[in-house]
Amino acid sequence: MTPSQPMSQAMPAAELREQDHAAIADIVGIKEQTLFQRFLASQAFWVAIALFVLVVFMTWLEPSFGTSSNVTNITRNFAPIAIMGLGMTVVLITGGIDLSVGSVMGLVAIVAGLLLTWHQPWYVAFGAGLLAGLACGAFNGFFVAYVGMPSFVVTLGMLSIARSLAVVLSGNQMLYQFGADAPIVKAIGQAKWPLREPAGWAPAWMPEFSSHFWVMVVLALIVGFWFNFTAWARHLFAIGGNENAARMTGVPVDWIKFQAYVFSAFTASIASLLLLGYSGSAINAMGTGYELRVIAGTVIGGASLMGGYGTAFGAVIGAAFLEVIRNALLMAGIDSNWQGAFVGGFIILAVLLGMQTSGRSLRGMLEGMFTGKHK
């Protein structure tokens, strides 16, 4: 029969269905994905597996790797990167990029540090630092979302501006003579939970997780919930998938993109304040080069630089993966100057893998290069 022939109402439903068209799954081979299959298809899952294997291998090779104190160290070291990774993921999903996060950290630390040296209470100092960070994010967001400039250009500019402001404001000095609230600031950055005896109840095998780690866990859970259950996040993903479509269906595209950059700066500010508390001092070089580590972590975790894909879990697992590699290299006695090469190599590798997961295969990319076509 011809497909356009009108269907007879007398035909039994099953027969009619069969004649009208065969099941789509049979023809194009698409099956509805179960949750488990989606999990298997996600890059973050495989990175988590790789991370697990790496950890087991390192523990076997180097017994000091698996000690609870080293776990405390590793989790504290990657937490700021993962916290910023959550913000970066939001920006990457819109199809943008935020190169300014490292510099924003420096500026936030100096602003908060200055107020502390002027004997302001800790909450005033932290509040001012946070405001400075949010202002940077609002600047980025305004020029990207409302003026329509490429995010690469705007945030690259902010990378330079924020760092320069940090140097100027600090007078190129390290700030460490904090006022009366210095102990509180330190307590925030150095707090651990659960504590071992005699202060706490934790057994010796259990790592004492830092406040950085717990902040990361809470933020990751919030962002994960947000990504999965809110209309805001649905719109965010739609913008990354097809910005025009989102605009035509009435999604407030500019406003959401603006918020994405502000959120990224917010996470950079939080990370900065935690590190400020941990070291008990503010230096204007804080966060130098972190943008690269953050981007590498999120991309390794499965966020796409082309937009539309990314998860909270991926941001955390990617950051953890990078830190474990870094830690492993140190323990293996490899010169720490090699780390940059590894981070850079992983970015390229992860993007290469990410291209396949976001529907553009390596082969398709190569073909596209020769035919000059996109997609």
Binding site: D20, F237, G241, A246, T249, V251
Partner: protein, 246 residues
């Protein structure tokens, strides 16, 4: 009373006159083909009805009410939806997510207002069943055929209960099988009492589904004929100008 009444519409862009004094009407549940060569004014006509910009002269009357659209959202409020050629779908979302994009069903109270995913999936499944499309709500649009994408875009217009759906080249660049699927979707819309304006270059498709064919040439209406009183040859002649008027 006609659902849509276009009354001596003209549109100029600077010195260029894209449309001059075009009149036609569309009845409820009618499928009207809009044909013409490139630059004949089809897209301008669609954009005027969809509210992308107002006409220079003349008026658009929807359901007896004179409308002055300045934004697509105003036309949408009157029950006019457009299925765009590039379909305006987000590839990284599922069918249901696309259908409900910008109109998500939510539950709970702020700040815990969350998506009611099951309700959206169920409603999308209903819409696809109504359209007799085998599209499944949880499938990613990225992996869909052209015909299924059309079904998603059309389901979106059903969600808002559109009275008039404008379809811009829905059968361009898809396979023969999928064309049949899309034409079936148009018949489904008609059966639901929805009017469709089909803008197409493909003569067989227009003749397969349209009740009436309107031909534009260089900004003017040159024909408005019932499909059963004309032939592809005549329409081709009208489009190219071999036949002056009908």
């Amino acid at each position: 009373m006609a659902l849509l009444d276009v009354r001596s519409i003209s549109k100029s862009f600077g010195a260029i006159r894209a449309l001059s004094e075009v009149d036609f009407s569309v009845q409820a549940g009618e499928v009207v083909g809009l044909m013409g060569d490139n630059g004949a004014g089809k897209s301008t006509m669609v954009k005027l009805i969809a509210g992308n910009f107002p006409p220079s002269e003349g008026e658009i009357v929807v359901g007896g009410k004179v409308c002055h659209f300045h934004k697509p959202i105003e036309a949408r409020a009157e029950g006019i939806e457009v299925v765009y050629q590039d379909l305006a779908l987000a590839d990284n979302l599922t069918a249901a997510q696309n259908v409900f994009l910008g109109r998500e069903i939510r539950k709970g109270i702020w700040p815990f207002r969350v998506l009611n995913k099951q309700a959206m999936i169920d409603r999308a499944a209903e819409l696809f069943a109504e359209l007799k499309s085998e599209t499944r709500p949880r499938d990613l649009v990225k992996k869909m055929s052209g015909g299924q994408r059309q079904a998603v875009a059309i389901a979106r217009t059903r969600l808002s209960n559109a009275k008039l759906v404008l379809m811009d080249e829905p059968t361009a660049a898809i396979s023969v099988r999928q064309v049949a699927e899309v034409l079936e979707l148009i018949r489904r819309l008609k059966a639901r009492g929805v009017s469709v304006m089909l803008i197409s270059h493909r003569m067989p498709d227009v003749f397969a589904v349209c009740d009436r064919i309107i031909v534009l040439r260089r900004g003017s209406k040159v024909a408005d004929k019932r499909t059963d009183t004309t032939s592809p040859e005549e329409i081709t002649g009208l489009i190219t100008g071999a036949i002056r008027d009908a």
